[in-house]
Amino acid sequence: MNQQLRRAAYRTGMFFVSIALVAVLWELYKIVGPEKGGKLFGIAILPRSNDTAMPHIWEMLSRYAEPEMRSPNSKLIWFVVLKGAFYSFRLAFVGFVIGSTIGVALAALMTRFKTIERGLLPYLVISQTVPLIALAPLVVSWGGKLEIFGFTWPRWLSASVLGAFLAFFPIAVGTLRGLKSAPAASLELMDSYAASWKQTLFKLRFPAAIPYMVPAFKLGASGAVIGVVVAEISTGLKGGIGRLIIEYARQATGDPAKVFTAVFGAAGLGLAMAGLVALADVLLMRNRPKETTT
């Protein structure tokens, strides 16, 4: 356990070192790169290196301590970004929970009924190669207009639904693989105990599936975040980090460092979701034999 902690600390440390390296490269380019951008082999591929297009790293960091807008009542920007990121986090979390519940339930159903597996699995697999994200604007457009049983569809729900949609597919596929991974000998053993299908599901299949479900849930978590953020930026959903990014990007000529604060906020959002799943991973895989990984 101690060794695991040390490895994790080392990895985190190296992560910050690599981030620092990226920052150094950024500043280096600012020094040597063309102010107005330039061409490489005839393609206009070199970005502008002036302070408006590429603010200094320290400008980005110090921007957090400044107020969001020039008006006197404006809150400090780190607070605004944090609030936006938290709003999006809640949406992504709801989407993740919905997507994973349906995904796991469907996987169990497909394990029980081979016909359903045959009929649905190809679509589940293909859906991961197809840009379902294209549906984002459509789903968000339901907001404020759709009514079910007298309940008007709130716009934020579209973001969560999109997140759920993107999370659902990898989770369903991964869980199905995991449920089917139970060794034949163990299934025979449960048979010899005259165990019911439900008992076999909960006492054998699900525990055997956990090593497959964890990476699937990681994909699902990142899918939920992507779904929510895309929903926000494609339609400017109020309150979330996506909207902040779009707004601040528009103000970039006057306030170049501002958009970076929101971009880092979005990164933090993704890491927070991933962190939740990683936590669950640690808790669930406590007693398992350690796989050798690099």
Binding site: R118, S141, L219
Partner: protein, 260 residues
């Protein structure tokens, strides 16, 4: 696989698909679903053919961005993976970064990239796609170059083979299936990223922008048709990568591997 098995494996999903479409079509009519919610498949299809040439144009723009990014990202990813396999210590720098970036919606960087280039340039989107593809390819190909069977290495060492020879004769062939696995993941990712990048402003010729503009004009069925176009684009990219994989692995008995 027996013929009956093949029939079942194809037939059942086919039936499910048809049933789903029939249900969709029927539900819209029966429940009188509003057009802004759901358009019936029949209408979507007719809109698709009506707008076919415009969809094609938009798809070409989005598709070109995806393609350029895919190629650039693959080239740089492979190059970097060779460097990684030579200088192993770099691994501990790159891997944590790659893992963290996996969890993060990095396409938001387009907002930043848009500022660094002229407003009509497609370069920011292409760079974004390249970045996404780069990391996927890098992680997978590096794995293929470094995770070689110990017995193979021992045999080569017993032949006093140089590092370059080991690279050419053992590591590279080992890495080829990993490259194609990376491509199968990157190709759809490239399309999705190219797509999503269009929501950040800039030139409005791609599929993403078309979808939003159609919705803004309350032409939802047309928007669905563009969505269909986007899905087909993604599918084409994926299928091409699968074909490439099959062509490359013919007769090599390669096994399936994957890392994201």
């Amino acid at each position: 696989m027996t013929f009956v098995n093949r029939l079942r494996n194809f037939g059942v999903p086919f039936v499910f698909g048809v049933a789903f479409l029939a249900f969709w079509e029927g539900a819209v009519k029966f429940f009188n679903l509003k057009p802004y919610f759901l358009a019936p498949p029949s209408k979507i299809l007719s809109q698709f053919f009506d707008n076919a040439s415009r969809i094609w144009d938009a798809a070409s723009v989005s598709g070109m961005n995806a393609l350029v990014g895919l190629i650039a990202g693959t080239v740089f990813g492979v190059a970097m993976s060779f460097i990684l396999s030579r200088f192993r210590f770099l691994n501990s720098l790159i891997t944590p970064l790659a893992i963290a970036l996996n969890a993060v919606p990095i396409f938001v960087l387009v907002a930043v990239l848009n500022n660094m280039y002229s407003i009509t340039s497609e370069i920011p989107r292409r760079i974004m796609v390249s970045l996404v593809v780069y990391f996927i390819v890098l992680v997978n190909v590096a794995k293929g170059l470094t995770q070689v069977k110990t017995t193979h290495l021992e045999i080569m060492r017993s032949y006093a083979a140089s590092d370059i020879q080991i690279l050419r004769k053992v590591r590279v062939p080992n890495a080829v299936p990993y490259l194609f696995t990376a491509l199968k993941i990157s190709a759809p990712a490239a399309v999705i990223t190219s797509f999503v990048s269009e929501y950040f402003g800039g030139s409005q010729n791609g599929l993403g922008s078309r979808i939003t503009s159609n919705i803004a004009n309350s032409k939802n069925a047309a928007a669905w048709a563009y969505v269909l176009g986007a899905c087909l684009l993604g599918l084409v990219f994926y299928l091409v990568s699968v074909v490439l994989e099959n062509v490359a692995s013919r007769g090599s008995g390669a096994t399936n591997t994957s890392t994201k």
